[in-house]
């Protein structure tokens, strides 16, 4: 069904298709419409989930963990400080190998209080064992949510998946949405290690130093195996629904001399900058990075890189840029822009490319 929807409502609509048994969530701007819409669906009977309005985000993830280990499908959503407040349990969910799906509406961290888009919140969770994907349109928010359940619940993965959408810039805007019915795209969940009273086992008990590292290695092995699962799922999605997704979204990259790399809506607006630059004779291309964990193989070639980070790791650098350098050895022009919802237009992005100085870091609005 073709309609117009906000990013938040698209996530809620996809969750309704996935039909989780339990949704436990706590409100935080700008995620609130996701949980409100789910509450509406439950009240009007179009979604049969048990909705638990928990008293904090830590409890939201804890409740999802409690539900998930019984073998049922679960979902939650949060943002910024909520994600930080549940950080202990976010770690726990991955360590417990639970296929929980969570939508995170990217928002800056206080103090001062700022409710607008920034990616630092989710990127601070990049070490936890969660898979993470960043979307840039309302349709992609819907599609990525459907795929997230299938990826998380694959036996080769059994790891939780976070879908990231820019606070206000995507969560609250209305765009076209094809609300494709999931059909049997998401197979029923079979959790091999679910609690069974007729086959009792202890979960997460004391583990000695002689054994603990093996559990952690197992997580990484599944994270590596998830690369294949993500690829298969995105291909199956393209076959079933006709919409193609991959590790990145490339725009006019084939003959490009310089690439703009970014995540989220900035990565989409960069395409407009590319068109402007091309008209000036600059062979620019845009490579919007979607998956941050597992970190993808990027098709960078010999091009110059302008990496826009809507985040920062203090004392180190922009997280996408430094990740690229760590993985490939390639230097880039690292632009720090969009923090706390700072306005960044396609004109600004074109300017970053024109003014690029490879190897340098440029704080938009601060540096000259």
């Amino acid at each position: 069904m073709l309609t117009v929807s906000t990013g938040n409502n698209a996530v809620a609509a996809a969750v309704r298709q996935a039909n989780p048994a339990v949704v436990a969530a706590y409100p935080i701007t700008p995620q609130t419409e996701i949980v409100e819409q789910i509450a509406n669906y439950v009240t009007n009977g179009s979604l049969k989930s048990k909705y638990i309005p928990v008293e904090s985000e830590h409890s939201a993830m804890a409740a999802c963990i409690g539900a998930s280990i019984t073998g049922v499908r679960t979902f939650t959503a949060t943002s910024s400080h909520g994600l930080l407040y549940m950080h202990e349990m976010v770690n726990w969910a991955a360590g417990a190998r639970l296929p929980i799906v969570m939508a995170n509406v990217n928002r800056a961290l206080g103090p001062g209080w700022n409710v607008w888009a920034e990616h630092t919140d989710a990127l601070q969770a990049r070490d936890t064992g969660w898979l993470q994907v960043y979307v840039s349109t309302v349709q992609e928010a819907y599609d990525a949510t459907l795929m997230a359940f299938r990826i998380a619940e694959d036996r080769r993965v059994y790891l939780p998946v976070m879908i990231n959408l820019d606070g206000f810039a995507l969560s609250h805007i209305s765009q076209q949405l094809e609300e494709s019915p999931a059909g049997d795209f998401i197979p029923p969940l079979v959790l091999d290690h679910a609690i069974q009273t007729d086959a009792p086992a202890g979960y997460g008990c004391m583990t000695s130093s002689a054994d603990y590292f093996r559990i952690r290695y197992d997580i990484e092995r599944s994270m590596r195996d998830s690369v294949q699962v993500i690829k298969e799922t995105e291909e199956a999605f393209a076959q079933t629904f006709g919409r193609k997704y991959s590790w990145t979204e490339e725009y006019r990259c084939e003959d490009a001399d310089v690439l703009i790399l970014a995540m989220g809506t900035l990565g989409k607006e960069a395409e407009v900058a590319v068109d402007i630059l091309r008209n000036e004779g600059v062979k620019a291309g845009s490579m919007r990075v979607r998956w941050i964990r597992p970190f993808p193989e990027l098709n960078l070639g010999n091009r110059e890189l302008v990496v826009i980070d809507r985040n920062y790791s203090f004392g180190f650098g922009g997280i996408l840029a430094t990740s690229i350098r760590a993985k490939t050895g390639k230097e880039c022009y690292n632009v720090i822009a969009g923090l706390g919802g700072q306005e960044v237009t396609y004109h600004d992005i074109a300017g970053f490319v024109r003014d690029r100085r490879i190897g340098e870091e440029f704080w938009f609005g601060v540096d000259a």
Partner: protein
């Protein structure tokens, strides 16, 4: 790409008006995005919504600085905010008012008394006249989208018939 900036006060339905514009454009076969710009979100505070309409997918998320059309749902905002800032030289203005306010003189202004229409059709909720569906009628008359698409969008979002009635009145009464 056609860019619209809509000025209203919190609680007047400006955000929904933006969605309706997007939906009507969409039903006309166009691409459209509607984005509310939230400052301090509270009833009565001036707020802005950005709407973009185009024949191809819209990839711009940043604010509209040079709108083609400015819509003012509450004329008292003219005293608080320079709603005309950045308006394109050939840009148009639509104001909810029975007459053209002094501050709007010199611009290409069209106006319609949306508040009056809302009161006449009893389109009032919790004491506030509903302006977001009537304004769609006025915008259809201005050629933003077809009358049919406007009606379809209103019917999709609202079951109460007074909404369509008020929109049709605004269509007729636009000056």
């Amino acid at each position: 790409m056609y860019e619209i900036r809509l000025h209203s006060r919190g609680g007047q339905g400006g955000v929904t008006a933006a969605k309706l514009i997007a939906l009507a454009s969409f039903r006309d076969g166009k691409y459209a995005t509607a984005a509310p710009f939230y400052g301090a979100e509270r009833r009565g505070a001036p707020i802005i919504s950005f709407i973009r309409i185009d024949d191809k997918p819209i990839k711009v998320y940043s604010q509209i600085h040079n709108p083609d059309l400015i819509v003012v749902l509450d004329p008292s905002i003219l005293d608080l905010v320079n709603v005309f800032e950045g308006l394109k030289p050939d840009g148009k203005v639509l104001i909810n008012a029975p007459d053209i306010p002094k501050k709007a003189e010199g611009y290409q202004v069209q106006h319609v008394d949306l508040t009056g229409i809302a009161l006449k059709t009893n389109l009032v909720v919790a004491g506030s006249p509903i302006l977001n569906t009537p304004v769609i009628g006025a915008l259809a008359k201005m050629g933003l989208f077809s009358r049919e698409s406007a009606a379809a969008a209103i019917k999709e979002m609202f079951s109460d018939e007074r909404n369509l009635k008020a929109a049709l009145m605004a269509y007729e009464e636009l000056v």
